[in-house]
């Protein structure tokens, strides 16, 4: 079948809601309005108000409610219209939820999923474009999932809903409308992906590119061009999960390629790319590196509105190519 990323999320949620009576969806406009971005289209009609909960614009309140419901054994899916609004509720995600299992020495459990749009959309400017991957991924007690395509969305979201730990699930608005063909196995009602494994989306020998979310697609595009125009064979790793990070897959790849470029949309300082730089320092990969890691990240500015400069603030395929060429410059023989 063919389906959009939007529908991949929708079907994953529907199947889990049908499978387990404890799963419910809560958030602003998720019900009668069918979702601000139509991700939950049809769900209110299908499952009714006992499973699909429209909330007031009260992020602190409904996030806390989700956490409490999770403690009592329900499996809430809490939607943030965008993750920017999670800033109002972040205390509950971190202090009420992530730390709960530890503080209670294992007594409290909160099998909750927080999901919604993360990072850069189109023309929505400074307050609606922030990437929260590295922040949440720094917090012990959380899992942080960054799906790219429909395989990821279905497999990782279903896994997240079934997971016993709280999961931060970061979607990308720009992908919602993208249609992809879905092989049969990913449409299986029990198709789940592990929450601790990256995926090598493209094998290569000359350089490793790590990326997550929309940037995986850009990296694959860049890899094609690098092959065609520069005969550089890039291995593209879709990180899929930022916490726990699949360090092993990255390190093994670098041991093969000896070069690495990290790509992310978010701000550079202490971002996901910085952590991968630290990983290079802390693993045997260091001895295999023939060039320093190249970091491609969003420009270190609040997001501007006008497309003419917005484009310059967010990594494009060109930026990735440029980074790879720099990493591969003067390839020396081992």
């Amino acid at each position: 079948v063919e389906m959009t990323c939007r529908d991949a999320i929708n079907t994953a949620m529907c199947e889990e809601i049908e499978r387990d009576p404890n799963v419910f969806l809560m958030g602003e406009e998720v019900g009668q309005y069918n979702g601000a971005y139509k991700v939950s289209k049809g769900m209110y009609d299908k499952y009714g108000p006992s499973r699909i909960w429209d909330t007031p614009i009260s992020e602190t309140g409904f996030t806390g409610i989700g956490v409490g419901a999770g403690f009592m054994g329900l499996r809430p899916i809490i939607e943030f219209m965008t993750w920017n609004f999670s800033l109002q509720a972040i205390d509950h995600i971190i202090n009420s939820c992530a730390k709960g299992h530890y503080m209670s020495a294992g007594d409290l459990k909160c099998p909750i999923v927080f999901r919604g749009i993360n990072g850069v959309s189109a023309g929505v400017a400074a307050q609606h474009s922030q990437c929260f991957a590295s922040w949440y991924a720094s917090v012990p007690g959380l899992k942080v999932v960054t799906p790219w395509n429909i395989e990821d969305l279905r497999g990782l979201l279903k896994a997240s809903i079934r997971d016993e730990d709280p999961v931060v699930f970061l979607e990308n608005e720009m992908m919602y409308g993208v249609t992809m063909s879905a092989p049969d196995h990913i449409m299986d009602k029990d198709f789940v992906l592990p929450l601790n494994k990256a995926k090598i989306e493209r094998e290569g020998t000359d350089v490793t590119i790590t990326a997550f979310s929309k940037m995986v697609g850009f990296s694959l595009e860049a890899a094609e061009i690098l092959k065609r125009d520069f005969d550089i064979s890039a291995e593209v790793i879709n990180l899929r999960v930022i916490r726990p990070l699949d360090r092993n897959t990255i390190v093994q790849s670098v041991k093969k390629t000896n070069r690495i470029v990290s790509v992310e949309e978010g701000w550079p300082q202490s971002g996901v790319g910085s952590e991968i730089a630290a990983l290079m320092m802390e693993s045997e990969a260091f001895d295999y590196l023939d060039a320093p890691l190249e970091r491609i990240a969003g420009a270190d500015v609040p997001m501007p509105y006008s497309v003419s400069i917005e484009r310059l603030a967010v990594p494009q395929v060109d930026n990735i190519i440029k980074g790879v060429l720099k990493a591969c410059h003067g390839k020396k023989q081992r």
């Binding site: 309005y33 614009i57 400017a125 420009a299 270190d300 501007p304 006008s306 310059l312």
Partner: protein, 341 residues
């Protein structure tokens, strides 16, 4: 509370003109959005113009205003021009925030306008801070923080209002109740839909927000209240937005066309003023039509001119991050970075 208002031809003509300017700006923005010259979010204010205009009629630029993302007309009423407002939406360097802020972020600190805020409810504590500053500086003025019926369910309103009451800050919490927050009606979001009563003991009132004179008189009363040191007030204006919430919302799935038409027919802020002008023979139908035509032509000309305005320059990306200058990393380091230390 005043029971009547005195007005004259000059005032009403000014209200009519500026509200028409506002209305036309929004209609043009709608078209430009559909023509893909405007992107992202775009929250139109048509239907609610009497509030922005009526407020200004009662206040001066020494009074401070802050609102949410539905802010084009507040910007205009606070002294910005349709040209700059539309140029901003059209992503131009000549826009009010040079193409950086976009539709949700107009400011004019010279005239004490503080945005333009994309985070629902955030403007309420910040607005309370404006009032705090006025009091700190011992100014005989008030601050106005505007919010929607949906935003009324942000807890931060109650935190800020409590401090405003404790400290008797000169702040007016102005709720523009247009019956819906996005697709959610008042009663689906709020257990208490009498928004003016939600100040936990802070006095409040509800009043028509479609008649600019009613708004003006209410705001005069309210400003005096504040300046007299009586502390905050909750004001609920009943109003209506004609358009959907933002451009992706057709605005007709959660309310009926009849409901919209009913307001357009009987409670339109511009038509109310037109009627007053005609009834008092202060203007003829033709004169008013001419004003409308003139404004339409002016804004159309603006738009044509804006189309040729420059977009932000690449180096604009790196300006105004902070006041102090420092190295700013670009996407690729170091080639795309601003290397000033």
């Amino acid at each position: 509370m005043p029971k009547a208002a005195v007005t004259n031809k000059q005032e009403l003509m000014a209200y009519f003109t500026r509200m028409t300017l506002c209305r036309r700006t929004e209609i043009v923005a709608d078209n430009l959005y559909k023509a893909k010259l405007i992107r992202g979010f775009c929250h139109l204010y048509d239907g609610q113009e009497a509030i922005a205009e009526g407020m200004e009629a009662a206040l001066t630029y020494e009074d401070a205003i802050i609102t949410a993302y539905r802010d084009h007309c507040q910007a205009i009423c606070r002294g910005d021009t349709p040209y700059r407002v539309l140029a901003e939406m059209m992503q131009k360097r000549t826009g009010s925030t040079a193409g950086k802020g976009g539709s949700m972020h107009y400011y004019n600190s010279k005239n004490n306008f503080y945005g333009g805020n994309g985070i629902v409810g955030a403007q309420l504590p910040v607005g309370t801070g404006l009032a705090f500053a006025l009091k700190y500086q011992k100014k005989p003025n008030c601050a106005v923080a505007m919010y929607g019926d949906g935003a009324a369910n942000q807890g931060q309103l109650y935190e800020a209002a409590n401090m405003a009451a404790l400290w008797k800050l000169p702040i007016l919490y102005v709720c523009e109740n247009n019956l819906y927050g996005m697709g959610t009606s008042n009663e689906r979001a709020s257990a208490n839909t009498k928004f003016y009563t939600r100040g936990d003991g802070i006095p409040g009132f509800k009043i028509d927000g479609q008649n600019v004179l009613v708004v003006r008189e209410a705001m005069k009363f309210a400003k005096n209240w504040c300046v007299a040191g009586k502390g905050p007030l909750f004001i609920e204006f009943s109003t209506y937005r004609y358009h959907g919430h933002s451009m992706s919302d057709p605005g007709v799935t959660y309310r009926t066309r009849e409901e919209i038409n009913e307001v357009r027919a009987n409670r339109d802020p511009i038509e109310i003023v037109r009627k007053l002008l005609l009834e008092n023979s202060w203007a003829s139908e033709g004169e008013l039509k001419d004003i409308e035509k003139k404004i339409r032509a002016e804004i159309d000309a603006d738009v044509e001119k804006i189309k040729n305005d420059p977009e932000p320059y690449p180096e604009d990306l790196y300006t105004n991050v902070g006041i102090g200058k420092h190295y700013i990393r670009g996407i690729n380091h170091p080639d795309l970075s601003q290397l000033e230390y």
